[in-house]
């Protein structure tokens, strides 16, 4: 039973599948990490993902240009991120509730636009697989890591960049200061609002990219509510990763690999009730989250609107 899964081709299949599945989570969760590090929880990631997925798909479908698709997604993400920042930072809305509102807005609008623009489900030519020269020839490693489309590589490249920006730059310092102690940051002359606008807008753009990575790179199709809850998982992964980019990546990979594993388990005809197998990634994430809860350093000002004054 287990030996069926230990075949090298199976292990390669699971790992490569896990990496593909992790890609949208990575974009969304890395973007969300910035927002949360500065003290803003955006539960609307899912809605922005759907809007990004639609706008990227629409642009590629009408223009045929992948670059325009990415640009369209980033632009829509920017607008929705700005909207989110306006609601949460300027209007100081309750972040959990406003996030659900943004999710519903994105869900409804993406579907409305889809129905207005298309007669039904259609496909586009998305990002092709890129075989990285030399590296893709390496046995095992090459097959797992170096035979994906461009947006997969970009997602993983984002992780060290995000780590560097958060931990090694002045901007990162400001973001962390605003998230830990906005009063002190404000006293130091940092504009809390500006930093939060920046991080939330960036988060919106990344969420939109997450959606686009599905609609124009991994699946090349748009369908109403195609993200199926992935945006919420991405928010959970930020907690899972203790607000650290590499932790977030570990979480995304764990979740996705277990998901890929359960698909392969049943493909191999191993008789596990489908319901239990499908639950596994979620159960594991909750378990890890509860364990991680003991040692996290959550940004102290997370979900708290900043009020200047005594």
């Amino acid at each position: 039973m287990i030996d069926q899964l230990l075949d090298s081709s199976v292990l390669i299949g699971i790992a490569a599948s896990g990496i593909r599945l992790a890609t949208p989570y990575l974009y969304a969760a890395i973007g969300e990490t910035f927002g949360q590090r500065s003290g803003v929880l955006n539960l609307g990631v899912e809605g922005i993902m759907l809007m990004g997925a639609f706008s990227g798909f629409w642009a590629v479908y009408t223009s045929g240009s992948l670059a325009l698709g990415v640009l369209a997604a980033l632009l829509v993400g920017l607008l929705m991120g700005l909207g989110t920042a306006f609601i949460n930072v300027t209007l100081k809305a309750e972040q959990g509730i406003s996030g659900i509102g943004i999710f519903l807005f994105g869900l409804g609008l993406s579907e409305l636009l889809f129905q207005q623009s298309f007669d039904g489900v259609v496909t586009v030519r998305g990002f092709p697989k890129i075989r990285v020269p030399l590296l893709s020839e390496v046995p095992v490693i090459g097959e797992i890591f170096f035979q994906h489309n461009l947006l997969v590589y970009v997602a993983f490249a984002l992780v060290p960049i995000a780590w560097f920006v958060l931990n090694r730059t002045t901007l990162g310092l400001k973001i962390r200061a605003v998230g830990q102690n906005p009063q002190a940051a404000d006293a130091m002359g940092i504009s809390v609002a500006r930093v939060r606008y920046l991080t939330v807008t960036f988060g919106g753009m990344m969420a939109a990219m997450a959606g686009a990575s599905l609609s124009i790179a991994l699946l090349n199709v748009f369908q109403q509510n195609m993200t199926a809850g992935q945006g919420f998982i991405a928010v959970a992964l930020v907690y899972f990763g203790s607000w650290r980019p590499f932790g977030v990546m570990a979480g995304a990979l764990l979740f996705s690999t277990v998901n890929a594993l359960q698909l392969w388990v049943r493909t191999k005809g191993i008789d596990i009730p489908a319901e239990y197998a499908s639950m596994a990634p979620y159960l594991l994430t909750i378990l890890a989250l509860v364990l991680a809860a003991q040692r996290v350093d959550q940004p102290a000002a997370l979900t708290k609107p900043f009020e200047r004054g005594e």
Binding site: S9, G13, S17, R20, L21, P24, G96, L104, L107, G108, E111, F114, Q115, F118, D119, G120, V121, V122, T123, L214, L218, L219, N220, V221, Q223, Q224, N225, M226, A228, G229, Q230, F232, I233, V235, A236, Y239, N259, A260, L263, W264, R266, T267, K268, G269, A274, E275, S278, M279, Y282, T285, I286, L289, V290, A293, T303
Partner: protein, 459 residues
């Protein structure tokens, strides 16, 4: 601090549950709200009628009885005529189809065209009467699957009867049962002639709502349960015998595969998805018992990425023919087209997603059922019967992809399988049960018997 954590974890679990459900289509759907005055008036009328009934029960009952008798007599006469025409036409159609089958080898394209032509709509709408139908569906009408099949069928009926004589309203995306129940109640209040709950999850809501609106006809699919046993007489049931097309596709898939590895991506093991997949497996086994199709129910109706990876795992295992059912299959189709594996579609025509790999689609045409139910409602009967679309009555159509060069012997085998199912030579349900290793269970037999064949199948 502690409280916040509990809150967050609760929130997370809720989100995960939502995600796990797959089709979390929660949305502020624009449920049609009747103008307040209308509701008030109707409520008042209802109350008044009720009061009247209580006050003068005997008189009312007597009048009602007389009226019913008169209507019944009329109904029988009216009903006879269209039924006869329908049968004649069906026979004609069958003859044509048979002829086409015989000539299939030479005139494949023509036959495909004939099969794809919509059947004539046969509804006897009295002069000056406008029939109004409302439908509640779990996904969008453009999902290339379950909900679209109903939306398309309604559009077809409307095209036949005219927009002014046949009106319909659809509330889409009501995956959440509570939202659907609200919409169903709204529609019933607004006096629609027929309210269709197009989703097996809506059953208990309908059981609750239908008795409150004894003058409105309801229909529930896909199921065979009309709640007749619960004393409810205004609910029709309908279902798709999707195992029939599944079986035909299984026969074709087993002949088309080179690797003898065949994959199936399913949502949740229930309803017409399960029927289709079980039928498909039975069809494969009927040709080559050695092949064990890989069946993966991914527990989601909406997760395209998961469907894609499930298909990817099958392809990596050597599968060269795939099929699947429900709204998330576009993900799997894309994966199949990347690898050049063949695809069989069901519920709606999916050829445009990947014209180079789609072999054929089983298309649901609900007009057979709609026609039957509407004619009965017009005759004053509001429920109590169960209907099914089948290959025999034309509700299930096999639409071939003309761009795919299907070997002639495979096409012939498919036509033979269709004929065998229509003639009763092959009983797909029995084949499925045999595979499951259990003798025909009482429950299944009963369920099958409960389905009243539509008159078109009676010939």
């Amino acid at each position: 601090m502690k409280n916040r954590w509990i809150l967050l974890i609760a929130l997370l679990i809720a989100a995960l549950a939502l995600a796990a459900c797959g089709g979390d289509d929660k949305e502020e759907t624009p449920t049609p709200q009747p103008p307040a005055t209308e509701v008030a008036t109707e409520a008042a009328t209802e109350a008044a009628t009720e009061a009247a009934t209580e006050e003068a029960p005997t008189e009312e009952a007597a009048t009602e009885e007389a009226a019913t008798e008169a209507t019944e007599a009329a109904t029988q006469e009216v009903a006879m005529a269209p039924e006869e025409t329908a049968t004649v036409e069906a026979t004609e159609e069958a003859v044509t189809e048979e002829a086409a089958t015989e000539e299939a080898a030479t005139e494949e394209a023509a036959a495909a065209e004939a099969a794809a032509t919509p059947r004539p709509i046969n509804i006897e709408l009295p002069e000056g009467r406008t029939f109004r139908v409302a439908v509640v569906t779990p996904s969008t009408g453009t999902d290339l699957a379950f909900s679209q099949s109903m939306a398309d069928s309604l559009a077809e009926v409307q095209a036949a009867l005219g927009e002014d004589r046949f009106e319909y309203a659809i509330s889409e995306n009501l995956f959440v049962v509570e939202d659907a129940a609200t919409a169903i109640r709204d529609y019933a209040t607004q006096g629609y002639d027929l309210v269709i709950a197009h989703g097996s999850q809506y059953g208990s809501s309908l059981e609750e709502i239908a008795p409150d609106f004894p003058e409105v006809a309801f229909a529930w699919g896909t199921t065979v349960n009309t709640f007749k046993d619960e004393g409810i007489n205004n609910v029709y049931a309908y279902e798709a015998r999707s195992e029939q097309g599944g079986y035909v596709f299984g026969v074709m898939a087993a002949r088309l595969t080179q690797s003898n590895v065949i994959g199936v991506v399913g949502p949740i093991e229930t309803g017409d998805a399960k029927l289709y997949i079980d039928g498909f497996v039975a069809g494969v086994k009927s040709v080559n018992p050695e092949i064990d199709p890989i069946v993966n129910y991914i527990q989601s109706f909406g997760d395209l990425a998961l469907a894609a990876e499930a298909a990817g795992a099958m392809l990596a295992n050597g599968a060269d023919v795939l099929t699947g059912t429900a709204q998330m299959v576009p993900g799997a189709i894309q994966k199949a087209s990347e690898e050049g594996a063949l695809w069989f579609g069901t519920q709606a025509n999916q050829t445009n997603l990947a014209p180079e790999i789609v072999v054929a689609n089983q298309v649901y045409d609900w007009t057979v059922v709609l026609e039957e139910i509407i004619n009965r409602v017009l005759a004053g009967e509001l429920g109590g019967e169960a209907y099914a679309i089948t290959l025999e009555n034309g509700g299930l159509r096999i639409e071939y992809n003309e761009d795919y060069a299907l070997p002639e012997d495979v096409r012939a085998a498919a036509d033979a399988a269709v004929e065998a199912i229509v003639s009763g030579e092959v009983d797909v349900m029995a084949a499925i049960e045999e595979l499951a290793g259990a003798p025909a269970t009482e429950e299944a037999t009963e369920a099958a018997e409960e389905v009243t064949p539509t008159p078109t199948s009676g010939g």
